[in-house]
């Protein structure tokens, strides 16, 4: 879970070096041993390819099945590729629910939560790491309690609280609670770890140039923390994008729904899922994030693995 960023970069450096030296450092073997090694390698690659199936196939099949007509989905022997490709399901996605609105809801909530968390966590992380003020440790402990509390533990009091404020079926609890509450704590922790490692000379230089604390934070520390901020941004966005318990507790009208909640609503009159429509909607939800992941893979892997999305 929380391997610090610098430790991780160190780990990556080790990989690169190991890969570079791996080939040449080995003693030259006899051709028999070489052939054997090649067979072992081929076997291991095949094994990895087979193991990839449960990881990749569901997503691929989701995409292809979303282009199948319902009759083809219900066939006894499943088809890998749509034989009679149609985009009808995609039309249904938008006809049955205000899907564009729901998509927008998820998008803007996740964006606000991400930006808000980055700002709030960077400030608090900086102050806890670099500024000495009375009670800092005690306050940090208060904040850390949030790491101990699963959202299910506080959902009843929070529901009551939100209800008391008349904010049920609004997006307020989905925006404000994550930015300031328990989900932000990990972000604060990561930012603090980063700022602890920031060389004091940089701040001194800023002070020489006549910058005050805020100036040092905004002009020097904040821009330097890009790698940690990227990690925070990625896991915060995904957490908000995937939030499920809170939306189903707080929201009740379809116009307000977020995506995870909306996806489960594509059912027929008997409560049975309309598979092709549901898969079309999940495709629309999943594919953009996957594409971003493929582009910024390194940041994703570091951001998520180091910061302990659990389970």
């Amino acid at each position: 879970m929380r391997i610090d960023i610098d430790e991780r970069t160190h780990g990556d450096a080790v990989t690169t070096r190991a890969v570079v030296t791996g080939g040449s450092a080995r003693p030259i073997r006899s051709s028999g041993a070489k052939t054997k090694r090649r067979w072992v390698a081929a076997g291991l690659i095949t094994l990895m390819a087979v193991l990839s199936i449960p990881f990749v196939f569901p997503t691929l099949w989701m995409v292809t099945s979303s282009f199948k007509p319902m009759s083809e989905i219900l066939q006894k022997v499943p088809t890998l590729w749509p034989q009679d490709a149609t985009t009808a399901a995609y039309g249904e996605v938008f006809r049955l629910q205000p899907f564009a609105q729901q998509y927008w809801n998820s998008l803007y909530i996740a964006a606000l939560v991400t930006v808000g968390t980055m700002l709030v966590a960077a400030m608090a992380g900086y102050a806890f790491a670099r500024i000495r003020f009375p009670g800092a440790n005690a306050l940090f402990l208060v904040v850390l309690v949030g790491l101990l509390v699963p959202s299910e533990v506080t959902i009843v009091p929070l529901f009551r609280f939100v209800n008391g404020l008349g904010l049920i079926d609004t997006h307020w609890p989905l925006i404000v609670v994550p930015i300031f509450g328990a989900p932000a704590v990990l972000a604060v922790f990561i930012m603090r770890q980063f700022f602890l490692g920031l060389p004091a000379e940089l701040e001194e230089a800023g002070r020489m140039d006549g910058l005050g604390r805020w100036g040092i934070f905004w002009r020097i520390a904040f821009p330097l923390s890009r790698s940690a901020l990227a990690a925070v941004a990625i896991f915060t966005f995904l957490k908000s994008w995937n939030l499920y318990l809170e939306p189903i507790v707080y929201l009740s009208s379809k116009d307000m729904f977020t995506l995870p909640q909306a996806l489960t609503q594509y059912v027929d009159a008997y409560g049975g899922p309309m598979w092709n429509v549901q898969l079309a909607a999940t495709t629309l939800t999943v594919v953009p994030v996957l594409l971003v992941f493929l582009v910024a893979q390194k940041q994703f892997v570091q951001g998520l693995a180091n910061t302990g999305l659990k389970g």
Partner: protein, 313 residues
Amino acid sequence: MTASALQAVDAAERRGPRPRRSAVARRDWIVGYTMVAPVVLGSLAFVIAPLIAVVWFSLHDWNVLANTFVFSGTDNYERMLADPGLHNSLLVSLWFSIGLVVLNVTLALFLAVLLNQKLPGTTTFRTFFFSPVVVSLVAWTIVWSFLLQADGGINGFLAVLGIEGPNWLRGDVTAMLAVIVVQVFKNVGLNMILFLAALQAVPEEISEAARIDGAGAWRRFRSITMPMISPTILLVMILTIVGSLEVFAQIAVLTGGGPGNSTTVLVYYLYQQAFRFNDFGYASAIAVLLFFIVLVLTLIQWQTRKRWVFHEN
């Protein structure tokens, strides 16, 4: 920096070195408090206060629909002791956690070892194994429930092989198995990366020396690699257990806690008590129990982490 702040610095400077330092320090305090204020106030409002409230609520008989809120002492806790539904959910959570940890950690370690072999294509396979992590949880679960239907993709594939697959989500054992497997494939990539980092930190020289001494691959792995990464294994296990207690969306979407209540884990039972049966008092008592379980596990984790850090040094 604002003009007035600059003036204050100027004024402080004119007053000589000593008072200047303390004035700057005090202004630093104010900046410090201002910077942490959002998170501290947020934690008080959205973590600490709800935590106190949930304990308080757990001492009450509180039905939302009937609008009753009566102090009932430890009634809810006594009810927990006698409630077979709760006992069932604790047992279900236990099975789920054990199954998840065993499968997840074994598979994660296996994948990490494979990826650590520096074979061609490793980067692509790493991407494959990691990709479900970024797939929306509910979407992933929906796709798997599609695959796991009685006439779904998995049974269709088995039928091609001449095997008649069970109705996975309708049998007690198979439903539990399905929930575990779906969750394992979703997030095993994270643990895999942690193991991979640990494996790459193992110095190659030791392994190489053992190889020259004639130790086989399995022997090297068991006697050198395993002990060296054991702290990571322990850490990953505890993290996975804590994470497994918070599994909600998967259960809600895949099985709805069923068939019967065979996959009703603790958090799902809590959710049902609160938002299906409107029994906020009892749900709060369950929340307190959940909190204590997570607390104990986290304390163990911190203990382990300390040892882990020590080991790293």
